[in-house]
């Protein structure tokens, strides 16, 4: 899936997060997690509605949990040009084990204490 480009100011640090990531593991078991994205604009970003639809489309797709950060990274990288693109995914525990996956540039994620926290 490709994301529509939008033109934005070059040099803008763009960071996004979602607590609503859901995809299917190889066993078919749904995985839930939080997604964090960071990049520096070289003059473009992607349409957020397209991105929402893309994230929603993952609900019916099957991945190894370890590949989910790369999947999202590569979809963004194929759609727009960026600098220092990084994707971090934190999954809720399965069998008592939590996983954190990252692909691309490392960055510090800002976690909300609850989903109502603004800023």
């Amino acid at each position: 899936m490709s994301l529509r480009k939008i033109s934005i100011q070059k040099g803008t640090l763009v960071q996004m997060s979602s607590n609503e990531l859901l995809f299917l593991g190889k066993s078919g078991q749904p995985y839930r997690g939080s997604l964090y994205i960071s990049f520096i604009s070289v003059g473009e970003s992607f349409d957020s509605v397209d991105f929402k639809h893309y994230i929603t489309s993952l609900r019916s797709r099957t991945f190894y949990a370890e590949d989910i950060a790369y999947e999202i990274f590569s979809t963004i990288a194929k759609s727009i040009e960026t600098k220092e693109l990084g994707v971090v995914v934190e999954l809720s525990a399965r069998g008592g084990i939590m996983q954190r996956l990252s692909f691309g540039a490392e960055f510090s994620v800002t976690r909300k204490n609850n989903i109502f926290q603004v800023g």
């Binding site: 066993s27 078991q29 749904p30 839930r32 609900r59 809720s92 609850n114 989903i115 109502f116």
Partner: protein, 188 residues
Amino acid sequence: MSGSIQATLSGASHFNLLAIIRLLLDERGMMQREDELQKLGSGSTEYKYEYSPELLETFENAHQENDYWVTLNADEFSSLCPITNQPDFGTLIINYIPDVKMVESKSLKLYLFSFLNNGEFHEDVVNKIGKDLVALMEPKYLEVVGLFYPRGNISIHPRYFYANGDVKYENIKEHRFMQANMNPQRVG
């Protein structure tokens, strides 16, 4: 005969008949539970993404002489908006006082996953799950709380209450109903 019973028989200098009877009964109860349950420990698990109440399983309450609360928290609940088909997310909290039957948690997990591609309003989901669990277990008391993530800046927190008709549990239901929104909850 199980290893634990053999150890008790051979190791005890004074026979503790009650302890042995208890072990035998416990073992019988566990075997009965193993016979009843299909999902837990089955080795391979089939996940359904369409509403499937038939996935729910029960086991027998071993402490029917006590009234006690069981709380089940499901932080990963997700279904679809029936109008827009957009995904909804929320935490479900199920509190109940068991009678004879108790819901087995893996079957509950699979049942809740089965809402994944189901279009339901938040209010309907909570009532539907409450009714399914009442039909399954016939508990003394049961409540379901849905703490759904905001949509359009509004989060919806429906609550379902059930009591079995006994005065004690009807009083609990009335009390819980009247107090339900005294401390509005936040999703963490």
